[in-house]
């Protein structure tokens, strides 16, 4: 009885795996077939030089890698700002001050209910000239304000989810509101919200491609240029998709490691 169940489960796995492979191979086949039907001529051999070149033993980054560098810079600066803006907004929404709650509310409603693309244009054409910042920082600001509004909801849910008894215990011990957040509430909340905060970072990496519209030469912008010059549309965009994928998967893996390490049992 047990043996047959075991074999049944095992068979199920084999079924799963073959179905998966079938879908994958099928998808790939359709893709190649589609390209062929259009008379598409695959030229993967032309791609490496847009990534990098070796000239007399010296490594020279191609346009895609240069774009990647700008994407990374955009992302990490925006990410830090996103997390700060998100935290501050969440605390404002939870504060007793009517003013703070009001400001947070208006900010959230505006950023979450308008398209990011519009916000990027607004930041570049309206805000940047006023603040006298360059296009890179206009992009950073637009991205971090947009993602920050989502991050704030994540923080808020994490903070609210911490057991009420924790607030009461730290209140009775005489901790100030700041000390309570700093030592008791946030360390517990952040451990809980690490997974959604990571997906926020993943969205940020992907959304960073949108700032190409204000001519920031990040990876997507570079890819666009190359594609329009060379017509290597599929090759170039598959390449940068793979790079985005590698970035986001690496990030998720790192966070998964930390999450495992600092898990709290409550």
């Amino acid at each position: 009885m047990l043996n047959s169940t075991y074999r049944f489960v095992k068979r199920m796995h084999i079924f799963d795996i073959s179905a998966y492979l079938f879908l994958m191979v099928g998808g790939l086949f359709l893709l190649i077939k589609g390209a062929e039907d259009q008379g598409y001529y695959w030229q993967w051999f032309r791609i490496p030089k847009y990534l990098y070149q070796i000239d007399e033993g010296r490594f020279i980054a191609g346009p895609i890698l240069k774009g990647l560098k700008i994407t990374l810079n955009l992302t990490w600066i925006s990410l830090i700002l996103t997390y700060i803006i998100g935290l501050v907004t969440a605390l404002m929404r939870l504060s007793n001050s009517l003013l703070a709650r009001g400001i947070a509310r208006v900010y959230l409603e505006i950023t979450r209910n308008t398209p990011l693309l519009v916000q990027i244009f607004f930041m570049y054409f309206v805000v940047a000239p006023i603040l006298d910042i360059d296009r890179f920082f206009a992009g950073v600001l637009a991205l971090s304000l947009f993602e920050g509004s989502y991050a704030s909801e994540i923080y808020r849910s994490g903070i609210v989810a911490v057991n009420k008894g924790q607030w009461e215990a730290s209140y009775t011990l005489g901790l100030s509101t700041y000390q309570n957040y700093r030592y008791i509430i946030l360390p517990q909340a952040i451990r809980r919200i690490l997974p959604p905060l990571t997906s926020q970072a993943v969205s940020l990496i992907k959304d960073s491609s949108l700032v190409s519209v204000i001519a920031i030469y990040e990876m997507t912008m570079q890819a666009n240029e190359i594609a329009s010059e060379t017509f290597l549309v599929f090759e170039i965009f598959f390449t940068i998709a793979a790079i985005y994928l590698a970035l986001t998967i690496t990030l998720s893996q790192i966070v998964a490691y930390f999450e495992k390490r600092y898990r709290v049992v409550s």
Binding site: A169, T172, L173, P187
Partner: protein, 250 residues
């Protein structure tokens, strides 16, 4: 416990009332005075306002009417007064409320360092002494989740004591414990009483109330029904309601 010496009044509660936002009246014109070193036990059916009373005493709940004064400091809107009272009144909760992300040692040293401004060494010495007193000095580096309920509650008591409070409040401190662990926590509470700590205790442990308390208050519907010494209260209660409650619980 008749040989005990009491000091002056440390807690003055005058005519406090509390109605929750959902309309439930938790306390009605409740007054009581508690002397230094006195152990006062509050008993009564659930929903009678015992826990609310405790929570009002240190400002966890706002009172609507009346006044509360602790060691001469009025519990009012003044933040400084409030902080002073929070420091001087220790509280032990039904569900322990230890900080799950901190070790036992950190649980006890954190507030000492942040609020009492003690050095790390002083705070740790104090913590070690208290852990020895509550009988779990071998668990300093454990996390709360690794301890039994009884051990967690003893850590919580040590954490509150580390602030050197003038008053200790216990809000059904043994209600969430497995039966075999209730004794170890009551033992610690009894020791505290013998040392002369002023204690306000909400409990369903009638044995503890009888043996340790100096004064028993029986509450129902947010009001005091009857009060008296433990002897009087358990042997010759006057009110019918008290008799009924005791007959149900003993």
């Amino acid at each position: 416990m008749s040989a005990k010496e009491f000091g002056d009044y440390i807690i003055n509660v005058d005519g406090i009332g509390k109605t929750f936002t959902n309309g439930v009246v938790a306390l009605k014109d409740f007054s009581t005075n508690i002397r230094r070193s006195e152990v006062v036990v509050l008993i009564g059916p659930s929903g009678s306002g015992k826990s609310t009373f405790l929570r009002c005493l240190n400002g966890l709940e706002e009172i609507d009417t009346g006044t509360i004064t602790i060691d001469g400091i009025p519990l009012d809107d003044n933040k400084k007064n409030r902080l002073e009272i929070r420091k001087e009144v220790g509280m032990v909760f039904q569900h322990f409320n230890l900080f799950p992300h901190l070790t036992v040692l950190r649980n006890i040293t954190l507030a000492q360092m942040l609020v009492r401004k003690r050095t790390k060494n002083d705070a740790q010495d104090e913590a070690m002494q208290l852990l020895k007193k509550v009988g779990i000095s071998d668990k300093v580096d454990a996390f709360p989740s690794q301890l039994s309920g009884g051990q967690q509650q003893r850590v919580a008591i040590a954490r509150a004591l580390a602030m050197k409070p003038k008053v200790m409040m216990f809000d059904e401190a043994t209600s969430a414990l497995d039966p075999e662990m209730i004794g170890e926590v009551l033992e610690v509470m009894k020791d505290l009483a013998i040392e002369g700590m002023t204690m306000v205790v909400v409990t369903h442990e009638m044995g503890f109330a009888r043996e340790v308390s100096d004064w028993v208050i029986f509450m129902e519907d947010g009001m005091k029904v009857e009060e008296g010494t433990a002897d009087h209260f358990f042997t010759e209660p006057k009110m019918d309601r008290t008799k009924l409650f005791l007959s149900q619980i003993l």
